[in-house]
Amino acid sequence: MVIDQPFSAAGAQTPPPRSAVTEGRATRVALTVIALLFLAVFLVLPLVIVFLQAFANGVGAYFAALTEPDAVAAIQLTLLVAAIAVPLNLAFGVAAAWAVAKFEFKGKAFLTTLIDLPFSVSPVISGLVYVLLFGSQSLLGPWLAAHGVQILFAVPGIVLATIFVTFPFVARELIPLMEEQGTADEEAALSLGASGWQTFLRVTLPNVKWGLLYGVLLCNARAMGEFGAVSVVSGHIRGLTNTMPLQVEILYNEYNFAGAFAVASLLALLALVTLIIKTILEFRYGDALSGSTGH
C-alpha cells in the first residue's frame, strides 16, 4: 500500500526550520559590518580623537587648560545658561504638551507646528532674529539702550537664543506620550473629587515622569552644546559671553589645540553621560517611553 505522506514524522529527514529573515548569512554579516564600520568612523573615532588630543600634552596640561580663567568663565556661563533655559523650557514644555494632548481648541495644529519651528529653522537664523529684534538698528534697540538694558552680546541674549533653540525638546517628548494615555485617568481623578491642580500633580505628571526626565536630558544636552544661535548673539567676548562651544572655537582658531580639545572633552563627556542615562531610561522604562519620538 502506498500512502502519500508529505509530512514525514522522521525527525532526521526534516530540514532545520528556516529563519523568517530570508537573507543569507553572508548578506547579514556584510550589512552588520558596514553598519559597525560606519558608526566607528563617524561617531566613535571623533570621540576618541577628542580625548586623545585633549590629553596630548599630558594630564597636567589638560587640567591647566580647564582651570584657565577664560575656560572657567565659559564653563560657568554654560552652566548658568542651562540652569535658566532648562527649567523654563521644562515648564513651557509641560504646559504646551498638556494643552495639546488633553484639550480640544482652535489653533491646536498651529501651536503644534510652532513648537516644531526651532527644529526646522537653522540655528543661525534663530540667532539673527534676536539681532533683528534687539539690535541697535531694530525698533526695540534705542528704547533698550535708553533704559540701559543690554540684551545682545550679553547673558540675556544668550539665554533667549538657547531657550528658543531648545524649547521643542520637552514638549515633543511629552505630547505623543500624553496623547497615547488619553484623558481617562484625569477624568477618573476628577470624578473622585480631585481638583484640576491635584489631578495634574498626582495623576498627569507621574504618568509621564520618565518621558519628562528624558526630554529634560535632551534639552539640557542641547542647551549646553548649542553653537549657531548663541554664536550670533554672544559677541564672543572672552571671559564674559563665551559659552563652552564658543570657547572651543576660539581656542581652535588660535591653534591652541590642547586647550580647545580639553574644553571639547567636557562637552563630549556630557554627550556620553546623556547617552548612558538615556539608554538606562529606555531599558528600564521602555514601555512608558514608547510613545516618544527619537531626535
Binding site: A184, D185, E187, A188, A189, L190, S191, L192, G193, A194, S195, Q198, R202, V203, P206, N207, K209
Partner: protein, 397 residues
C-alpha cells in the same frame, strides 16, 4: 475564584451608602457633537437604590448618557436633576458620582490601596481625612470586593477581573450618591463575566447604591437589572423590566435586538392577518387595514399538520442549537426567510414543507424594508405596537 457570600459586607459601609442613594431625573436631554446628535430627547427617571441597565448596540449613545450624568460632558439641551437639584450648576467633583470606566482607568503608578484611597486623599478642608483612616477604609473596601492581600500590587500586576473590582472599590470609596459603570465586564472572558455579574448584584443589594450600568449584552442586562433601558441611535426605545422588554417589545428594534426574532411582511384585511393570499389564522384585533410587519420569536411557534390558516414554507437550511433545532424556511412567492425552532428530534429534511403559526406575536405598522423604526412609525401613523397576540388562545379567537 469569587467567594459567594451575601452577608460579609461591613454593616457600616452598607448603612452609610444607603443614606446617600439618590433619585435621578433626566429630562429631554440632547447631546450634539458638531452637528451629529449622539443623544436625542432622552428622558429617564431613576429611583433611589435602583439598578438600571442601559442596553443598546455600539454607538447608540450609552456612554454619552453616562458621561452627561457624571458631568464629564455637558448636554446641549435638556436637564439632569439629582434628587430635585439641577445638576448643571454642579461641577464633576460636587456631583459625587462613582464612575467606573470601561478601560478601568486605574492610576498605573499607584498600588491598589492608593488607588482605592485616592478619592479620600484628595479631600481638603473640613473633609480632610487622616492617612490611617484612609488606609483603613480602603482595606475595608478591598475586602468588600474580595481582593484582600493584593494591597501592594500595581494595576499591571492584576488580571482584568481584579482590575475591574479595584476600579469599583475606588468608585465606592467616595460614598457616591450614584454609581455609574460603563460596560463593566466588557473586556473580560465569558466565565469571569458571569461570576462578576451575580457578584455585582450582591454588592448592589448590600450597599443600596443607585446604580446605572452600560452594556451591549442583553443577557447581562436582563439578568441583572431592575429595569432595562433599551437605546438605539441616541434615543430611548423602551424602558421596562426584563419581562416587559422581552415579552412586550414596543418597537421592531426592541423586538429584534432583545432575544431572537423572525419577521414577515403581511397585510391586514377583514379582521384577519394575511400573508400574500393566505390567511394566517390570526385575528387582526383593532389593527387598521393595510400592510404591516409580523414579529414573532422562533421558539414561540406551533407546528401544524394541515394548513387552514398558517404560514407554510420550504426548509432551506437547518442547524442544531444546543437542545433544539433551528430551521430556516422560505415562505411565499418572494421566498421570504423566517426562522423557527423545532425539537431536535424533528425529522425536517431539506426542501420538505412545514406549516406553523406563531403562538405569540406582535404587529408593527410598516411596509416592506427595514427603514428606521422611528420614522416608519410616524409615516404610517400607527401606534408603536399595533396589536399583539398572546398565547394560542388569543391567536385562535
Amino acid at each position: 475564584m469569587i467567594r459567594k457570600s451575601g452577608c460579609r459586607f461591613s454593616e457600616k459601609i452598607m448603612l452609610k451608602q444607603r443614606d446617600r442613594a439618590m433619585d435621578l431625573s433626566i429630562r429631554n436631554v440632547r447631546k450634539e457633537f458638531d452637528r451629529f446628535a449622539a443623544l436625542d430627547d432622552v428622558s429617564l427617571d431613576i429611583r433611589s437604590g435602583e439598578l438600571i441597565a442601559l442596553l443598546g448596540p455600539s454607538g447608540s449613545g450609552k456612554t454619552t448618557l453616562l458621561r452627561l450624568i457624571a458631568g464629564l460632558d455637558h448636554p446641549t439641551g435638556g436637564q439632569i436633576f439629582f434628587g430635585g437639584e439641577d445638576a448643571s450648576v454642579k461641577t464633576v467633583q460636587e456631583r459625587n458620582i462613582g464612575f467606573v470606566f470601561q478601560s478601568y482607568a486605574l492610576f498605573r503608578h499607584m498600588n491598589v490601596l492608593d488607588n482605592i484611597g485616592f478619592g479620600l486623599s484628595v479631600r481638603r478642608g473640613a473633609d480632610r481625612m487622616a492617612k490611617a483612616e484612609i488606609a483603613r477604609r480602603a482595606t475595608e473596601l478591598l475586602d468588600l470586593v474580595q481582593l484582600s492581600g493584593l494591597e501592594r500590587r500595581y494595576p499591571h500586576q492584576l488580571s482584568g477581573g481584579q482590575r475591574q473590582r479595584v476600579a469599583l472599590a475606588r468608585a465606592m470609596a467616595i460614598e457616591p450618591s450614584v454609581l455609574l459603570l460603563d460596560e463593566p465586564f466588557g473586556a473580560l472572558d465569558a466565565k469571569v463575566r458571569r461570576d462578576l455579574r451575580s457578584w455585582l448584584r450582591e454588592i448592589h443589594d448590600a450597599t443600596g447604591h443607585t446604580t446605572v450600568f452600560v452594556t451591549h449584552d442583553q443577557d447581562e442586562a436582563l439578568e441583572l437589572a431592575d429595569r432595562v433601558v433599551v437605546m438605539n441611535e441616541g434615543r430611548i426605545e423602551q424602558i421596562g423590566t426584563a419581562d416587559d422588554v422581552y415579552d412586550t417589545p414596543n418597537s421592531p428594534f426592541v423586538f429584534g435586538f432583545i432575544g431572537e426574532s423572525s419577521s414577515l411582511p403581511i397585510h391586514v384585511e377583514a379582521g384577519q392577518l394575511w400573508f400574500e393570499d393566505r390567511p394566517l389564522g390570526l385575528p387582526a384585533g383593532d389593527a387598521p387595514d393595510g400592510k404591516a410587519l409580523l414579529y414573532f420569536r422562533p421558539q414561540e411557534v406551533k407546528l401544524l399538520d394541515g394548513c387552514g390558516g398558517c404560514i407554510a414554507g420550504t426548509v432551506a437550511a437547518g442547524r442544531r442549537v444546543a437542545g433544539t433545532r433551528r430551521l430556516e424556511l422560505e415562505v411565499g412567492g418572494h421566498r421570504e426567510r423566517v426562522e423557527i425552532e423545532v425539537p431536535a428530534s424533528h425529522p425536517a429534511a431539506a426542501r420538505s414543507r412545514i406549516a406553523f403559526r406563531p403562538e405569540k406575536w406582535r404587529l408593527f405598522g410598516t411596509p416592506g424594508e427595514a427603514a428606521p423604526s422611528e420614522k416608519v412609525r410616524r409615516i404610517s401613523g400607527w401606534p408603536a405596537a399595533v396589536q399583539a397576540g398572546e398565547g394560542s388562545s388569543a391567536a385562535r379567537r
